[in-house]
């Protein structure tokens, strides 16, 4: 076992931080470490928090961390912020609202940028979750802005997914309906002191009653909670509801480890294959400049894009077969 693996298991912050960076930067050697770490994963409980910008997710996460710490549980937080599609840069500011925990050794907070890679976000986040899991964190909270398929996929790697809304979001609730309603295990109406909280509650209730088919046997109907995260109101209830959902999942899984049930493993594996495949193919194509050449060729009318695609893909797959 490599020293990096040992250090992660021992909870070494620097090693964990660097490993997550390697995952994010897609350093090839990282896979060996992840392989070795896998046996040490499966103990943590993963909670996904998602919702539109400005609904107060980071503040809610900050309070949740505080509560878990009072319960003596250790916590890992992965806060995902979008990468600018124009510059490739990102300002990662979720941490600001959680900085009070920075001196607490029982809390590890990491900001991640979406980096806009093809489905790679969810893969790297999943791997980062594995690392925090192997590090021994009891709870891992993943916070994302709930837009785009990538982020929905991230949320799917959580056992309990919390969708945060605020009163008076009318159109945004429609957006949730179109996108991530079905992945929500519970809903939080934050800033519930604001006007329209009851209306939002009723709208959500209606939408869940109509459209929710995630748990067909009807055993878990997503509850809707009200909270004012800034004042630490409703957070205790949120944590209790998460525990109820956890108990429900445990019963439903008949004693299997939550992170390692068959469905989850299948989903993770498919996700891994997808992301790996795209990565390898694109890497290969850009490494020897073949993608650029093909683009020029199409541009100059020397070839049509369909033929270019066939040729590129076939030759790449052949080359990769030798490599892998």
């Amino acid at each position: 076992m490599s020293s990096a693996v040992e250090k992660v298991i021992a909870g070494d912050v620097r090693t964990v931080a660097r490993l997550i960076r390697d995952i994010d930067d897609k350093i090839p050697g990282v896979r060996d470490v992840l392989k070795a770490l896998y046996a040490h994963t499966g103990k943590a409980y993963v909670i996904g928090i998602t919702g539109a910008p400005g609904v107060g997710k980071s503040t809610l996460v900050d309070q949740m961390v505080n509560h878990y710490r009072h319960q003596g549980k250790s916590v890992g937080v992965l806060a995902v912020d979008p990468t600018s599609p124009f510059t490739g840069g990102a300002i990662l500011g979720d941490r600001i609202r959680m900085q009070r925990h920075s001196l607490d050794d029982g809390v590890f907070i990491r900001s991640l940028a979406t980096r806009g890679h093809f489905g790679g976000l969810s893969q790297s986040t999943r791997s980062a979750i594995d690392v925090l899991d192997a590090m021994g964190k009891d709870y891992i909270i993943v916070e994302t802005v709930g837009v785009g398929q990538d982020e929905v996929d991230v949320v799917k790697s959580a056992q309990t997914t919390v969708i945060v809304v605020i009163p008076g979001m009318g159109d945004d609730i429609q957006a949730i309906k179109a996108g991530i309603l079905e992945v929500g295990d519970l809903f939080v109406i934050n800033k519930a002191d604001r006007e329209g909280a009851d209306k939002t509650f009723n709208e959500l209730r209606q939408m869940i009653d109509m459209g929710h088919e995630k748990y067909e046997d009807g055993k878990w109907k997503p509850p809707i909670l009200k909270a004012e995260a800034v004042f630490d109101r409703g957070v205790t209830e949120l944590l209790e509801t998460i525990e109820r959902h956890r108990d429900y999942l445990l019963k439903a899984s008949q004693g299997n480890k939550l992170r390692k049930n068959k469905e989850r493993i299948r989903e993770d594996l498919v996700e891994m294959i997808k992301s790996r495949l795209i990565q390898e193919v694109l890497d290969h194509m850009s490494e020897n400049d073949r993608l650029n050449k093909a683009v020029d060729a199409v541009m100059d009318g020397e070839i049509d894009p369909y033929t270019a695609c066939d040729e590129l893909l076939l030759s790449t797959l052949r080359a990769l077969q030798k490599d892998l």
Binding site: V13, R14, A17, R18, I20, R21, D24, D25, K26, I27, P28, T83, S84, T87, G88, G89, A90, I91, L92, G93, R95, I96, R97, Q99, S102, L103, F108, I109, R110, S111, A113, R115, D283
Partner: protein
């Protein structure tokens, strides 16, 4: 080897709330393609260092406009060393008298940017002088 993305932290140590410069530089770094972890105001050196390690940044940019830089900046460098993270480059900016600059540099603050520094020059400096780690 794939190119690593440069990760930097912009931090305001101490009680001074003048964050115009810090916020502008955070945006400029983002526009230069860096990932910028912004800590917000009123941070202690300790909380900055712990955050920088968890975030695995390549550089910390400290901003101070209220005169406490002679204590706060070196304290960050010292704590990085104590935590085995002195490979993280520390730079500073703000209202720093000329006389203090050599003293700060002697204590491990690699570069100081004073008022009037151009954003592009600062970005250029980071690109030229801050390397992502290679191991």
């Amino acid at each position: 080897m794939r190119d690593r993305k440069l990760r930097v932290m912009v931090a305001k140590p101490g009680l001074d709330g003048h964050d115009r410069g810090a916020r502008i530089i955070a945006r400029a770094f983002r526009d230069a393609g860096f990932e910028v972890v912004y800590t917000g105001l009123h941070q202690t050196p300790d909380s900055i260092v712990k955050a920088a390690i968890q975030e695995d940044v390549d550089m910390i940019g400290l901003s101070s406009l209220a005169g406490a830089h002679m204590y706060l900046f070196p304290e960050v460098v010292k704590l990085l060393k104590e935590n085995g993270a002195d490979d993280i480059v520390v730079v500073g900016g703000g209202i720093i008298p000329d006389d203090d600059i050599p003293k700060l540099k002697a204590q491990g603050i690699v570069e100081i940017f004073t008022p009037g520094s151009k954003l592009d020059d600062m970005v250029g400096w980071v690109k030229a002088n801050v390397k992502t780690r290679t191991d």
